[in-house]
Symmetry: C2
């Protein structure tokens, strides 16, 4: 008899999520039926998208959504052996039963030197998001200037490194001096702490007086207008996230971006990584990112919280920008 | 000795342009030198873009910008004969001297049944704008639903008819019941008077409960959010104009559109027709639009003000939505 622990969302978040919005529950799992397997979460992911999406896909009392790296601990499914590792999307839970569908096997050839948690980060959803957004939407040419914000985060840090590999000048904005230092370590040409500069517009101009060809948007809010003002004509904008607004109680209002889009003839495209899951570019991204990491061309960092009981705190801390690189919980 | 009259902009517009912002001046033109020609404006164009662009390209006291159909009245240039007609971009002026550069000849094969003023409208800048925006940005497939606002205007009325020819269901918004009637006459599937409906969002839902694949934006302001909310996923938006804001003293603020762009994975592209002037699509548009008009597949209407002295009033009236179809001044 296995007891599974899960974190539920007891009420929809209002403003900044609070520890009281979550509740730990326990449940005894039934014995496996034929075709089923029992999995134990080893690493769990906390991601920005969970904040806006919880209201769309969860009811109060549901287990929080999310992915994990899990190990097969018992199997009555010929496709999976005990000890195999998979990426699952089973929410914030320690143990779960699966019929095998929707599990993504981590191949036995996975390099021993690399943590399997990378399949939740640089080689997983955030890395693929970065790859797709840069390649399909920003579409940079060598010599282009690319801007990314939340640049030290799970997506932004990969965005910048991919753009460097493809010959761009890369400028990153992040929320602390330590993060800025990290960005310089991993090869960003210019980086600034948006909380410490006198004026974002000035920092953007200083970092790239020639203007920006590409803008990978993770943040929104007050960052967007000065960024758009610094775009070159015909610039491309990958609209990936708006983390500055996720805790806002009401839809954001502010200066309209439409006239800048027209005057500069910009192309702006919103995208959700899940749409690419069954597209060839997704597998291409996974393969390429893993290769670049093995070759040392893409560096990664993980911000690991130890203990399943830390999940709500890790989630709240990630939304508050405490992580450099990918925020992960080790169960 | 020829005396040329011109309308100058004596001060930059603040809010709605006023008659006092313009001044009629006269100037005696010098005799022609070799290679030059003297032209007389027959039709002049007043267009929405002149409102926002005047501040960018004119100094106070400059002749107002704009295009005209002009007739050659004297020529010392072997490329042009007396009686030839051209489209010029010489501003609000009755007579002018040119060296021939930048003049676009109206071919002698121009159909006698069609007014040459169409080269300022349905077969000119507004028509080409419509063609480029629909083809290159909205990129509609047969069966797609396309929304256009300021739909009875010089651009919008052509947008809708092109989309119909290419197999779309077309919905138009306009500012009077007469305009709505005109839209139905020229084949729009659905049209509504946005000033008379209780709620634009409701009118948009009623016109196309299935949602919109394409949105050709001429208006901006309060129209945009309900329109984006009714877009289908992966919708394409041609950002052409924001006439609702051109007279605003300050940059517009309002609800941010960014989260809708992400959630619906929309692609939004700003474009300025002048960028396409030297591209093959421009000549293709001109040829195709003229053919469609001859075949009766595209209908046009002109809102003609008689007399060069009426130019400021025609411009102000056009900004106020008095025109159905293209606003033209007959000199």
């Amino acid at each position: 008899m296995v007891v599974s622990k899960s974190w539920t969302m007891v009420r929809h978040f209002e403003g900044v999520p609070k520890l009281e919005d979550f509740k730990l529950i326990e449940k005894t799992l039934p014995p496996l039926k034929d075709g089923e397997l029992l999995l134990e979460s080893e690493f769990l992911s906390v991601d920005p998208f969970m904040r806006p999406y919880s209201r769309r896909v969860l009811k109060e009392g549901d287990v929080m959504m999310g992915s994990q790296v899990a190990r097969v601990v018992e199997s009555k499914n010929p496709g999976f052996a005990v000890g195999d590792h998979v990426v699952a999307r089973s929410g914030w839970t320690t143990h779960f039963i699966s019929d095998g569908k929707g599990l993504q096997a981590i191949p036995s050839t996975w390099p021993e030197s690399l943590p399997k948690s990378l399949t939740l980060g640089a080689v997983g959803m955030p890395g693929i998001t970065a790859y797709v957004g840069v390649k399909q939407i920003c579409d940079p040419k060598p010599g282009d200037v690319l801007l990314v914000n939340a640049a030290a985060g799970a997506v932004g840090s990969i965005v910048g490194q991919i753009a460097k590999i493809w010959g761009c000048k890369v400028v990153g904005s992040a929320g602390s001096d330590d993060k800025v230092e990290y960005l310089k370590e991993i090869g960003f040409d210019e980086a600034f702490n948006y909380k410490a500069v006198r004026c974002v517009a000035e920092a953007l101009r200083k970092a790239a007086p020639e203007g920006y060809d590409c803008y990978f948007e993770n943040v929104g809010g007050a960052f967007t207008i000065p960024a758009l003002q610094q775009m070159k004509d015909f610039g491309r904008i990958a609209m990936c996230g708006l983390i500055s607004s996720y805790n806002d109680p009401a839809p954001q209002t502010g200066p309209c971006i439409q006239s800048l889009i027209i005057l500069k003839q910009l192309r702006m495209e919103g995208f959700l990584m899940y749409h690419y899951l069954d597209k060839p570019v997704c597998e291409e991204a996974r393969r390429q990112l893993l290769l670049w990491i093995i070759e040392g061309k893409v560096k990664y960092r993980e911000h690991i919280s130890e203990g399943f009981e830390k999940m709500p705190a890790a989630f709240i801390g990630m939304l508050n920008g405490e992580n450099t690189g990918k925020a992960i919980v080790k169960a």
